[in-house]
Symmetry: C2
Amino acid sequence: MRSPSLCLALAAGLFGTAHAAAPATSEAIAVQLRDRALAGHTVAYPWVSELSTRFGPRPAGSDNEHQAAQWAVARLKALGFDNVHIESFPITAWVRGSESGQITAPGRQPLTLAALGESPPTPAGGLEGEVVIFPTFEELKAAAPGSLTGKIAMVALRMVRAQDGAGYGAAFAGRVDGPQEAAQRGALAYLLRSMGTDSHRLAHTGTTRYVDGRVPIPCFALSNPDADQIERLHALGETVRVRLTSGASYVEGAQSQNVIADVRGRERAQEVVLLGAHLDSWDQGTGAIDDGTGTAIIVAAAKLIRDLPQKPERTVRVVLFGSEEVAQPLPPGSAFGGHAYADRHQSELPSHVLTGESDFGTDRVYELALPAAVADGAFAKSALRVLQPLGVLSARQPAEDAGTDVGPAVEAGVPAFLLRQDGTRYFDIHHTADDTLDKVDREQLEQNVAAWAALVWLAADSDVDFRAHAAPPGAH
Amino acid sequence: MRSPSLCLALAAGLFGTAHAAAPATSEAIAVQLRDRALAGHTVAYPWVSELSTRFGPRPAGSDNEHQAAQWAVARLKALGFDNVHIESFPITAWVRGSESGQITAPGRQPLTLAALGESPPTPAGGLEGEVVIFPTFEELKAAAPGSLTGKIAMVALRMVRAQDGAGYGAAFAGRVDGPQEAAQRGALAYLLRSMGTDSHRLAHTGTTRYVDGRVPIPCFALSNPDADQIERLHALGETVRVRLTSGASYVEGAQSQNVIADVRGRERAQEVVLLGAHLDSWDQGTGAIDDGTGTAIIVAAAKLIRDLPQKPERTVRVVLFGSEEVAQPLPPGSAFGGHAYADRHQSELPSHVLTGESDFGTDRVYELALPAAVADGAFAKSALRVLQPLGVLSARQPAEDAGTDVGPAVEAGVPAFLLRQDGTRYFDIHHTADDTLDKVDREQLEQNVAAWAALVWLAADSDVDFRAHAAPPGAH
């Protein structure tokens, strides 16, 4: 990994100086923004520190999420943003309740587990059954109907560590569809080896999927060492039984909300560059890296732009989405904050010129993907001149989507960019109680702010049409 | 850190070959033992794997501890040891029960904590109070009587990481004496920042001390990130209140046990080299590194010696102690397995020629400390010739003690040796739920077995008097 300190030296020395002679160009201002962020003149770390400390976990629809949104409004106003307001929307919330797991045979041992999001509760006294282990989710799906009657199905697939987080996608179906597939074969409950790359006794929760308005059976993530233990007991020839309890519940008619703040463009304010991150978090950690740092990065980047002597031509809009983590019983089922925004702002979406989302932790940006329309043009070349000293290369493929929250806007035609972050260690912590401030690497956080501030400035202070499906004239 | 692979190459190549020409000497046999262990021909990993998998946590006095002792007897007999038997003794056991912690003001946030060993329960509905933070235990002890009435005292000292584990000793008083000192000043409960060097949401439990037969108030270890969170809320100017519940209980008249196995000496069998480790463990992990690997190391080392064509002159005795982790209401208060052994074998202790204990995880041995009587003599020189290729240097000071379990024997005059292990990462895991098999580094485990097998052979196949207070004639 490239050292952020090296990046800082390169940026401040080589590029900063070289471009200081041309202060009036948009690219030179991007360089200044980048270097200010690297020098630590951003609000990112104090933002994520206070957010994750003061409110801790911020599950969608919870008091903590509401209070964090109020706090964000006050902070964004104090930072000088325009048009700061909350847009609320209704959701069905999910509350974990007390839960426990235990191996009951061949001996008694406690299990570290966490109900998956939207899991129904167990009966009050818990439930117990023999564990049937499937090495992969595909093998569970190949099991015969009725073959799991009275049993507890377990998918033991271990998530693969990868810089781009590809292991998460490869394991994802086992979490969202596993309960349904196990229930169809008669299972009492469903256990999933955590979608996590660590080896700690911390389970990785995450949402499942409602089918016909319900999640059919209680479902839990086991920590990696607990999944190992069950597999080893099985390998010793033992029949493993476990007891599971969960007091999870649903709250109908809860409210979540998006928080909006603008840096109003000086010339074409109706044209919006939309930056997204989410304010809600899972309930066991404190939402520091998922997604406190994402909110910090986009707020800090926009704040640097806001503080320039001259605003960009287009509006930069920050949206701190609510209710990103949890599924909903009714369609569209996910990204409720994103859908609420796209629905409410439907008429404005044609003038949303570009969007990106920061929701992959704190570690450094290593790659830029732009919309196909500009992937090879002058805009891309300028952006990479500014970003490469940060250790950012051009992606091989243009961006087609940008994340969950801005997904509905992208589906509605808003072009997407990606500042891909190094996810090598992201899934050690993701969706666990371990998502706490101490995991934030401040130097890498500032590198993110630098990349976002520079790129967003270049896009907002331009008239580039990111929507065009052929490269515009003169782009090469 | 010296690479174990390099050690292996050095040992097999340079030393193994050089000494192969003199097979009849005791030192040459020590070299063979060392190299067999490095080649992986030991029972250590399968031992710790099955022990920690089959029985999981083994709290003193629990069914799991009893069953693990029965299993150990069967395995030790199958491995060909002599005199394999159990020696039981009564204890007061402590059972965690359900427990929880929550910040209740300024907002609600869950806390990750663990009752300290022997903590009394809270009232059934829990207890709640304002947290008073002390940076160090000394500052708590300087607080005025009555100054903590109705409050919850918290000691926030962060344990220091050190190769030799010195940070543990520096923080230890805060754990064993903290509840008593806080109670004397009126506190409702006592919170301790975990004695651990990690930053995970896993609390490090550990024993407190009975005073007049009781632990006065409920006491808990907070995970490091939780202690950080409370400190940061305080720094934001907030008054922090927490709610604590614990359903801990005591079991009078429980039984624990030591498991004993010998390699009977061929000439002076009444002379014993005593090797100790403990079979009990804390209740949240599976006792893999504390002290499953210790038991594995001494069993594997003794097994290598047992399988030699010629037994050593003296007896090698393995004792897998029970009830090492927990305090007891009555004197001597600790090391009940060690005291039970010393009491029952009192008449034999004068012919226990040397003792050592393995209870510091799995990582490599880096230093040998011998009794003062032999620290500079021919025995030490021979031992270091064999051990240095493993990366083991001579300690600057002779050994005065060797650990908790063999402590009572050492107090009764048995000379001690230390094979000091690298404790740099030990306290990341120690006394947490994270003490699981995946933390065991197999190469370093085998290096330990190599060092123990070689050193114990040299001591047992000799007539060296480790007790003598002056160097014996000819030792130089």
